[in-house]
Every structure is written in structure tokens, then in C-alpha cells.
């Protein structure tokens, strides 16, 4: 699956004030951003970096002027040498192409003022008008220490608005403040007055901390007291979740539940989509006269897109649930729980997050390896990320495991799915170990992470993340996959051969290509149709399903047109009448797809992230060898076990 975020500079219309939204991680910045922009936001890659941010427009309910908000990545400091900090610095200094802000919105966690104000001070040194949003006000109000926003505003030299991104309180006041700073001229006197109140840019961390402590002391009426009882309970939960055995157990249980939920819940909408596409294809056939146009629409377009869109529910559910987990504060604990295991393979808990997101898609996974501070460990993580079973493999797994589990007990499919994920992860970890013992020697680096407070995750945030990802997926299905589907239909429908469907298939271009390459895949038990499927899936593996769907449609007679696409593929026959997918072939193909590197965008991103073609070439070569070898062994073993050859 390719994500194709647009460059942020492109969408900004002139005349709309642009506001940069900045803050520490875990301050509820994104929640506040989502509250302000809702669905009027899109994911954007900042020019010259792989850091993702979001750009949205906000219109106040009382008809004030529209604002454009740029959600910059959360960072702990502007001076630190990390990609997030670099993007924030560049944006504020105006050197980030096309997104020079007119004003800044600094999001500050009211329950953790001392650290947040240090970051705010660094931001406020930049010469733009600014508003400080005192977020999580609903929680801060219940604490023993009271923050006085007016005093804070006096100390910081800019408006301070108490808000809550979660409950939505204080947003009207924030609108007024944003409107004021963007419409009124920004006097240089005001800036100078602000700069005089702040510690200088060259202040040491200790000086900055001392300044912040003073401001907090002046602006709060009581010293912050931590609730000991609650703290002790959270201590126990933290200790359990990061425990070497218990922590891993909880992690595995949560992952198992996650995948079980994805497959169980998603099956209903999947069947519905499959059924609808089948019906529409029939309708098209019935409405149009027999001929090339009807064939193209029914077999090429609808079958191809339908075969991929079927998996939309699963992908949405995966992103939704992972977003909920992240929001709840669990993922950071999980990173520490798996740190010990990762260490055995020469990786650390920092590689865990990229590898986990690679289970959705290797592209964001590889991009997020920038958080790994050790170069060798980062390269090792990039190399093995594509081994993780990404959501593009899901369609193939569903298809092949569906075929394999015909006539098997109900638990078989679940075990097979878990096995695929485990096989991919194991292959990745062992490859990492080999790399760290040979070409990328070095010790694993230490892990330092903030453990965000446990929270009830926001359904709204998770829904917006899902909406964003689903959009990218659908756009992809509507362009790349549509084009490949039409090409595949053309290859299998031409040249026209007189005779039945099987003769057409064997005589078509697709059949000829398959015949030519089939010897390469013969040891794996693949026939020419399956070979075509594998070859077309080199660019993007989910194309396999649509290719097989198109080939099955072309190969079958009209008598089976009431079947769903998946069912049709499952019953495909070879030229000699035996099924394409017997047990051994299906198992070999499944193993091949678990391990093979079939994603052009991933190779391109690896090239960009590592700066050389050496690493993508190694990735492709190694994964292909492993996949072919493992598939060959699987085919041989299953053939021997079942006594078929």
C-alpha cells in the first residue's frame, strides 16, 4: 500500500492566516488540532523530511475568517538534534518551503507546566505573534494546585487560554485569541516586551529549568502535590506491564486479541463488499450488450477494484485499534516489555515501534526509524521492516488461508493467520541478528521514552486517523491498482482465441508470459496462472488478489458469475483441469508471500532513507532468496506429507 501525502505548500491559499501548532509530545496537541479542524485536515509530508504532520482549516462557528492550522510534530526541545525538532525550527524560521506561519499556537499541558513552559519559552523567542493554549484544563482544575492563566500570560508576554481538547471547553475563547493575533498588527514593542520576559536563547538547560520553576511558582497558588495513592497504583501497573515475563505475556495477549478482533469483526463488511461488487458486475453484464466494453467493466475494473477494496474494513480496523492502544498509553510500556527480547536480536525497544507500524505498512515503519539514534541499529531495522506482515499482505493471506482451511476445523484459519505473522516477525528478527553479527556490528542502544499517563482513548481521534489512512488506501485502489487491473484484463483477454475460456486463457498474453516464466516457479508447484499472479504482484503485493480475480473471471464461464470473487479464485482450474490451488501450492504460495519483498515503494523509501542503492538491493536479494527457499521447503514437505506430487 502506498501512501501519497501531498506537499503541504501546495494547498495553502493566499490570504488565509497560517498558524503553526507546536508542543511537547503527549500534551493533547493532536486532540486539540482534531477538535479545531475535524475532517478538514490531511496528512502531509514536510518538504525535505520524512516527518509527517497534518494541515487543516478551521472556521470559527460565528463566521470569523478561516484559519489554516499546521500541526507540527511534537518535540521535547527546539534545540535537540532530532528530525521533529528540525522541522519545527525550520518552520518557525520560515525556511520550510511554502509554510511560513503568520502566528504560533503553543499547546501546553496544564498538568505538567514546569517542563512544557521550557519548550514554550524556546518557541516564544521566535518573532511571530503567539497564543498559548493551556490544554487539559479539565484535568488540571481537579488538581490541588491552581494555575492562574492571567498571571501566566503576564509572565510569558502573550495571551494564555485555558482549553480542553477532549471536552471542547474554552474553544470559543481560543477562537477569539487566534482571531486577535492574526488580524491585529503585531507591534515590535510587544515582541520586545515578550523577549525581555523570557530566558535568552543561549540559556543552559538548568537556567531554563530554573526560569520555568519560577514562573510555575508565581502562577500557581499551591505547590504541586502528587496523589500518592494513585501514583502507587500506576507504579504497580507500570511494573507489571514492563515486567520481563508478565509484560511479554500481556503484550502477546493484547496482540492476539487485536488480530482476532480484526478478522472476526471485519468479516461481515467484507462479505458485504464482496457481494455488492459481484452484484454490480452482474448488473453491468446484464445491462450492456456482450462485448469488449462489458468485459472490461465487469472483469477488469469491477473485479480488480473489488478484490482490493474488500480489505478496506480490515485495514480501517487495524489502524483504529492501534490508534486506541497508542492513545491509552500502553504502547510505550510495551516497548519496554519487548526491549529485552529485541536486545537478543541486536535491536532495542526503539525498533519496536517502527516494526509494529510495519505491520500496517512498511513505509511509515521505515520512516519512523529516524527515532533510532544508533545508525547501525537503524539500518538493521530498515532492512528487516518489510518482513513484517503488512496490511497489503492481508488480502493474500485471507485468500490463501481461505483456500487452505476448506474442510478444516474452525480454529485452523486463526492459527494459520497467527503463524503467518509469527513467521514474518521471526524471519525479520533473525535477519536482524545476522545483520548485526556481520555487516552491522555494534552494541544495542539504550531506551529512553516518556510513559504517557493512562487515559481513556479518544474514539474521535482514532476515527480521524482511520479516515485519513482509508482515504490513502482508496486513492491508491482507484489509481495504481485500477491501472494494473485494466492492464491485466487486457493481457488475459487478448489476443482473442476461438474456443472455450480455458483456451482463451492459455492463448492470451498473460498465458504466454506465465508459460515463459513458469519453469522458475515450477519447483514451488506454481502453474502459469499463479506465476502471472506472482509476477504482477512484484510492484505491490495486494495486486495478486485482483490479478487472480481477473484471471479467474476470464477463465471461468458465465455459469459461475453468481459466485463471489474470492470463491471464484479458490475454484480456479489449471489447463489440465486440476485445481490451481491444491494444499501444497497454496501453502508454498502463502509462505512465499509472507517472506517476499514485493513492494516497489518500500524499495524507493529504503533508498531514500539509507542514501544508497546498496541497502534496497540487499533487502530485495535477501528476502527473495529466503522466500523462494522457504516456499520450496514448504512445497516439498507438504507434498511428502499429503502424498501428492
Amino acid at each position: 500500500m502506498t501512501s501519497s501525502p501531498t506537499a503541504p505548500g501546495a494547498g495553502g491559499r493566499d490570504g488565509i492566516p497560517r498558524i503553526a501548532v507546536l508542543g511537547n509530545p503527549n500534551t493533547g496537541k493532536t486532540t486539540l488540532f482534531n477538535r479545531l479542524c475535524g475532517m478538514r485536515a490531511r496528512t502531509a509530508n514536510f518538504p525535505g523530511s520524512t516527518v509527517e504532520g497534518r494541515i487543516g482549516t478551521h472556521r470559527a462557528p460565528d463566521g470569523r475568517a478561516e484559519l489554516q492550522l499546521v500541526d507540527l510534530p511534537g518535540t521535547y526541545s527546539l534545540t535537540i538534534d532530532m528530525p521533529e525538532a528540525r522541522v519545527c525550527r525550520d518552520c518557525l524560521s520560515g525556511s520550510l518551503d511554502g509554510i511560513e506561519p503568520n502566528a504560533m499556537l503553543v499547546v501546553v499541558d496544564a498538568t505538567n507546566l514546569r517542563r512544557n513552559l521550557q519548550f514554550a519559552a524556546q518557541v516564544l523567542l521566535h518573532r511571530h505573534p503567539a497564543v498559548v493554549a493551556l490544554n487539559m484544563w479539565d484535568v488540571a482544575r481537579t488538581r490541588t494546585s491552581r494555575v492562574d492563566p492571567a498571571e501566566l500570560a503576564r509572565r510569558l508576554g502573550c495571551p494564555v487560554v485555558p482549553v480542553s481538547g477532549r471536552s471542547g471547553e474554552g474553544l470559543a475563547a481560543l477562537d477569539v485569541a487566534l482571531d486577535t493575533v492574526t488580524t491585529l498588527p503585531f507591534e515590535s514593542d510587544a515582541l520586545i516586551a515578550r523577549l525581555q520576559k523570557l530566558p535568552p536563547a543561549e540559556a543552559t538547560p538548568a537556567a531554563l529549568a530554573a526560569w520555568s520553576t519560577n514562573v510555575v511558582r508565581a502562577a500557581t497558588t499551591e505547590t504541586a502535590a502528587i496523589d500518592e495513592d494513585r501514583g502507587a497504583l500506576i507504579d504497580r501497573i507500570d511494573a507489571a506491564l514492563t515486567h520481563p515475563l508478565l509484560g511479554i505475556g500481556v503484550f502477546l495477549a493484547i496482540m492476539a486479541a487485536l488480530f482476532a478482533a480484526i478478522f472476526l469483526v471485519a468479516s461481515v463488511p467484507m462479505d458485504l463488499i464482496d457481494f455488492l461488487f459481484g452484484r454490480v458486475a452482474d448488473g453491468v453484464r446484464a445491462a450492456l450488450p456482450n462485448g469488449i466494453i462489458a468485459d472490461l467493466l465487469a472483469d477488469g475494473v469491477l473485479r480488480g477494484i473489488g478484490g482490493v477494496l474488500v480489505f478496506l474494513p480490515q485495514i480501517c480496523l487495524l489502524f483504529f485499534l492501534v490508534s486506541l492502544l497508542e492513545d491509552s498509553g500502553y504502547l510505550a510500556r510495551a516497548a519496554f516489555a519487548v526491549d529485552r527480547v529485541m536486545r537478543r536480536f541486536g535491536l532495542s525497544g526503539l525498533s519496536f515501534v517502527p516494526l509494529l507500524s510495519s505491520h500496517a505498512c512498511a513505509l511509515p515503519g521505515i520512516m519512523s526509524t529516524r527515532l533510532i539514534r544508533d545508525d547501525r541499529e537503524r539500518l538493521a531495522t530498515i532492512l528487516v521492516a518489510p518482513f513484517m506482515s503488512c496490511s497489503a499482505r492481508l488480502p493474500v493471506y485471507v485468500l490463501l488461508i481461505g483456500i487452505l482451511s476448506i474442510g478444516k476445523p474452525a480454529w485452523f484459519a486463526g492459527v494459520a493467520f497467527a503463524g503467518c505473522y509469527a513467521l514474518g516477525a521471526a524471519a525479520g528478527l533473525f535477519s536482524a541478528l545476522i545483520a548485526r553479527r556481520t555487516i552491522l556490528r555494534g552494541p544495542a542502544r539504550a531506551l529512553v521514552l516518556e510513559l504517557p499517563p493512562y487515559r481513556r482513548p479518544s474514539i474521535r481521534n482514532a476515527a480521524l486517523v482511520t479516515w485519513d489512512r482509508a482515504n490513502v488506501f482508496i486513492r491508491n485502489a482507484g489509481t495504481t491498482i485500477l491501472a494494473i487491473s485494466i492492464v491485466m484484463w487486457w493481457l488475459s483477454a487478448f489476443p482473442r482465441v476461438n474456443g472455450d475460456a480455458h483456451a482463451q486463457q492459455a492463448g492470451s498474453f498473460a498465458g504466454q508470459i506465465g508459460d515463459a516464466l513458469q519453469p522458475v516457479f515450477a519447483p514451488l508447484g506454481f502453474d502459469s496462472q499463479l506465476t502471472v499472479g506472482v509476477m504482477t504482484s512484484f510492484m505491490a503485493r495486494e495486486v495478486f488478489v485482483s490479478t487472480m480475480g481477473v484471471l479467474a473471471g476470464a477463465g471461468s464461464g458465465a455459469d459461475v458469475s453468481d459466485q463471489g470473487v474470492l470463491e471464484q479464485v479458490a475454484t480456479m482450474a489449471r489447463t489440465d483441469g486440476t485445481p490451481v490451488f491444491n494444499t501444497a501450492t497454496s501453502a508454498a504460495a502463502l509462505v512465499f508471500f509472507v517472506l517476499a519483498m514485493q513492494c516497489l515503494p518500500t524499495l524507493a523509501v529504503t533508498r531514500r532513507e539509507t542514501g544508497s542503492w546498496k541497502w534496497p538491493a540487499l533487502q530485495l536479494g535477501w528476502m527473495t532468496i529466503v522466500a523462494y527457499g522457504a516456499a520450496f521447503i514448504t512445497y516439498t514437505v507438504v507434498c511428502m506429507a499429503t502424498g501428492v506430487h
Binding site: T79, A209, I226, E228, D238, A332, D339, L447
Partner: protein
């Protein structure tokens, strides 16, 4: 080294205390010396020296380290910053080191100690690695000791709120070490936490002022 000079500088255990401990408890292996006020369980620098003392005692000799205290302390700081044990420069291997030299270096040691406030000074509270604290214990972080960490880790810790002399509360001891600063919880893997030195706050809950000792 005189009997009252400290062998374990982390927990300020003198040679005399160690010798008395061995006479009284008759430890069978050198690691049992850790039961003597936690000797050797801090930065681990003194472990080979403890072994040497134990071996001498077992052979029936009078346990005695011949290294000059100033050199001993200097090599320890070097070990703490680099993680590498330097080869002994002079007197450690030579049991007949002239006494006057030892006295002279001892005075240097004391003057050096005075110029380094907080380090090994008896009037100052003890410093221990973060991993040695108990759950619920509070401590003050000494960021001047963070020099052992790589630049990136140090800057990140500062930015995450761990600045000089900030107060931390230990939520989970050991590795990973979880600490709380204000209302932020930081997870720190063992290899970093071991290099963060803190001064325990005596009256914090679950604390007796002394660090937990390993048996």
C-alpha cells in the same frame, strides 16, 4: 592506602571496616563483602580491589591495598567516564611503596576532595546510581555526572525534564527504571539509568537514607 581510606567510594566503606568485617563474618567468597555496607555494589570500580583484599585475608596476610588514594580515586573517575579499567600506574603491585609518598598523596587526595564538593566528601550526602533506589524513594538528580552518556541521550534527558538537581520519584526500580519528574513518567533502560547518579532524599517514604544493598 591507610585503614581509614575508602575502598568503596560510592558507599564510603573504609579498608578498616572491610578488614573487621572479614575477621568477624569470615566470608567464604569475595562477593560476600557486598554485605559489608554494600561495598562494591555501586559503580563496581572497587570489585577487583575487594577481591584482592579477600584473597590476602584468606592467605592469612594482613589485608592491605598499596595503591595511593589519589591515584585510586582518579582512576575510578576515569573508569566511570570511559567504562574501561586503566592499568595500575605505580604502587598497587609494589607492596613496599615508601610510606612518605603515600602520606603525600593522601594529602593531595584530601585537597583534591575539597575542590570537588559533593564527591566523596563525608559532609555531603552519598551518590548512588538511579537503579539502586527502592520503589517510592525520592532522590535529587546530579546531572554533572551525566557525562558518561552519549550526547544525544543527555540532551534528550534534559529536554524530557531531567535537569540538574531535579527531584525524581522511583516508580519501578531496576531495569527498565521508571521515574517520575513532576507529573511526567520516564522509562529509562538499565544501561542509561546505571549512569545517572542521584542523592537519595532521606525522609522520603520507603527510604532509610541508605540505598538498597544487594546480597
Amino acid at each position: 592506602m591507610n585503614p581509614d581510606d575508602h575502598v568503596c567510594l560510592c558507599f564510603r566503606v573504609s579498608q578498616r571496616k572491610l578488614v573487621n568485617f572479614m575477621e568477624r563474618e569470615r566470608p567464604r567468597v569475595a562477593s560476600q563483602l557486598s554485605e559489608c555496607l554494600g561495598a562494591g555494589t555501586g559503580c563496581q570500580w572497587c570489585v577487583p580491589f575487594l577481591r584482592k583484599l579477600h584473597a590476602q585475608w584468606e592467605r592469612g596476610e594482613v589485608p592491605q591495598l598499596t595503591v595511593a588514594p589519589a591515584e585510586y580515586a582518579a582512576r575510578r573517575s576515569q573508569y566511570r567516564s570511559s567504562g574501561i579499567r586503566s592499568e595500575p600506574a605505580t604502587s598497587e603491585i609494589d607492596p613496599s611503596a615508601p610510606v612518605d609518598v603515600a602520606v603525600e598523596t593522601e594529602s593531595q587526595y584530601h585537597s583534591g576532595r575539597a575542590s570537588m564538593p559533593g564527591r566523596n566528601d563525608p559532609s555531603q550526602p552519598i551518590r548512588v546510581p538511579l537503579t539502586q533506589l527502592r520503589r517510592g524513594q525520592r532522590a535529587i538528580v546530579d546531572c554533572s555526572e551525566l557525562t558518561d552518556l552519549p550526547e544525544g541521550d543527555r540532551c534528550l534527558l534534559h529536554a524530557m525534564g531531567m535537569h540538574h538537581e531535579c527531584e525524581v520519584r522511583v516508580c519501578r526500580p531496576g531495569t527498565p527504571c521508571i521515574v517520575q519528574i513532576d507529573s511526567t513518567r520516564l522509562g529509562i533502560s538499565g544501561d542509561v539509568a546505571r549512569k545517572i547518579f542521584v542523592t537519595p532524599i532521606a525522609d522520603s517514604p520507603g527510604s532509610s537514607g541508605a540505598p538498597e544493598t544487594r546480597a
